[in-house]
């Protein structure tokens, strides 16, 4: 039963991610910083990660030595997500469809790769990368909340400050959610 549920969740997430980058909904989500950063980017990233987590058979095992503990894979996710959280990159993506396309392609590639890598990582390694991402998002969120000037030419100051609050909130919820899920999965083990 669980397998089917996971598969349905993956399909639903993929459908939402596809809708979130295509014109009517995509351009609407790009109109505010909040929806670009906290709806579109996470949707695309996690939908791709969902497919990577299936560990498709065709990728084999030979290359795993290049990705012990999923280290390079998870590190690339950190870099990619940080890159698209930078004000100048948000501006480029909002103003230029080539940049937007590059953003989606890189998020899909890195998301998929980190889905694979996440399965290879030990709990300690997972905590390290998760902690790193959460710390980074909270720092960016605090900066966005407190910065007195507009950081993005494409977005308003109110939007920036709200995005900052939402980034901090979402990071905390995400990490607590992960901890609860991790504890539940661990408790089930013999």
């Amino acid at each position: 039963m669980r397998r089917i549920d996971t598969h349905r969740l993956r399909l639903a997430l993929t459908l939402m991610a596809v809708v979130s980058v295509l014109p009517p909904v995509g351009s609407w989500l790009m109109q505010t910083m909040l929806t670009q950063m906290l709806v579109q980017i996470p949707l695309v990233f996690f939908a791709a990660a969902g497919w990577g987590a299936r560990q498709p058979a065709w990728i084999g095992t030979g290359w795993l030595r290049w990705n012990a503990q999923g280290a390079p894979g998870l590190l690339s996710a950190t870099f990619c997500l940080a890159y698209w959280m930078t004000p100048i990159a948000l501006d480029h993506a909002a103003a230029d469809s080539l940049w937007e396309a590059a953003k989606v392609v890189s998020l899909v590639a890195v998301g998929w790769f980190s889905g694979i890598s996440w399965q290879l990582a030990s709990t300690v390694a997972r905590i390290f990368y998760l902690g790193n991402m959460v710390w980074m998002s909270i720092t960016a969120g605090m900066l966005y909340q407190e910065f007195p000037q507009r950081l993005c030419n494409a977005y308003l100051w109110d939007d920036q400050s709200l995005t900052g609050e939402a980034l901090v909130g979402a990071s905390i919820v995400f990490v607590i959610g992960w901890m609860i899920r991790h504890a539940a999965l661990t408790a089930r083990l013999p």
């Binding site: 590190l75 690339s76 930078t86 004000p87 030419n153």
Partner: protein
């Protein structure tokens, strides 16, 4: 293990160089900073912008007959925040230019980005309130919205309509050289720096 290390180093190198490219060598985290650096390195030409000044005469933002360096800003007259501070700075700059007899070298231009509201009569009234001296300071309301949009886009001025007839907008001292090219952008909290930069641009050959 060694292969993973190599892959990790490769990811770090790619990541860091992508960041370096994005931020122009770690110096610009925002589009605004990147633009300021680019303009200072290479002045850019401004598209034609015509309008009516405070005296009711037809003027151009870049007047070929006027080879003074210009400090230009964009406002709307019923603004209740940023433009008020900018107006204060312009008044002070006007005083400093007159005191130092620099009016043959420098001029100030205020352009309205809301010409629908800021009619010639409204800007004449604004100029009166601000005690604008026409020898130094021109207040301009553009007569072609398409020209205004083009000039704003080149100068990087962004104004978005907000509630209660207000605008959310950015502001800066845009310094045009003697050929009417945008040569420097200075933050609005640094009027002294704007004056110095304008003089420096004026003394360039």
């Amino acid at each position: 293990m060694i292969r993973t290390l190599i892959a990790t180093v490769a990811v770090v190198l790619i990541g860091v160089s992508a960041f370096a490219r994005l931020t122009h060598g770690f110096s610009a985290l925002t589009t605004e900073t990147a633009r300021r650096e680019a303009v200072a390195a290479q002045p850019i030409a401004i598209p034609k912008l015509y309008g009516v000044d405070q005296a009711g005469s037809h003027e151009a933002l870049v007047d070929p007959g006027d080879d003074r360096v210009a400090i230009v800003d964009f406002i709307y007259t019923h603004c209740i925040s940023l433009c008020l501070a900018l107006g204060d700075s312009y008044q002070r700059l006007q005083g400093q230019i007159l005191d130092a007899h620099l009016e043959k070298r420098l001029r100030l231009v205020t352009v309205s980005f809301d010409p629908a509201h800021d009619t010639p009569a409204v800007i004449a009234d604004y100029a009166d309130r601000m005690r604008v001296d026409p020898a130094v300071w021109t207040v301009l309301t553009p007569d072609d919205p398409a020209q205004l949009r083009a000039a704003m886009s080149t100068l990087g001025v962004i104004a978005k309509a907000a509630d209660l007839g207000q605008f959310v907008h950015n502001a800066a001292f845009n310094i045009l050289d003697r050929h009417g090219r945008l040569a420097r952008i200075v933050s609005i909290d640094q009027p002294r720096l704007a004056l110095d930069a304008a003089l420096e641009i004026d003394s360039e050959p």
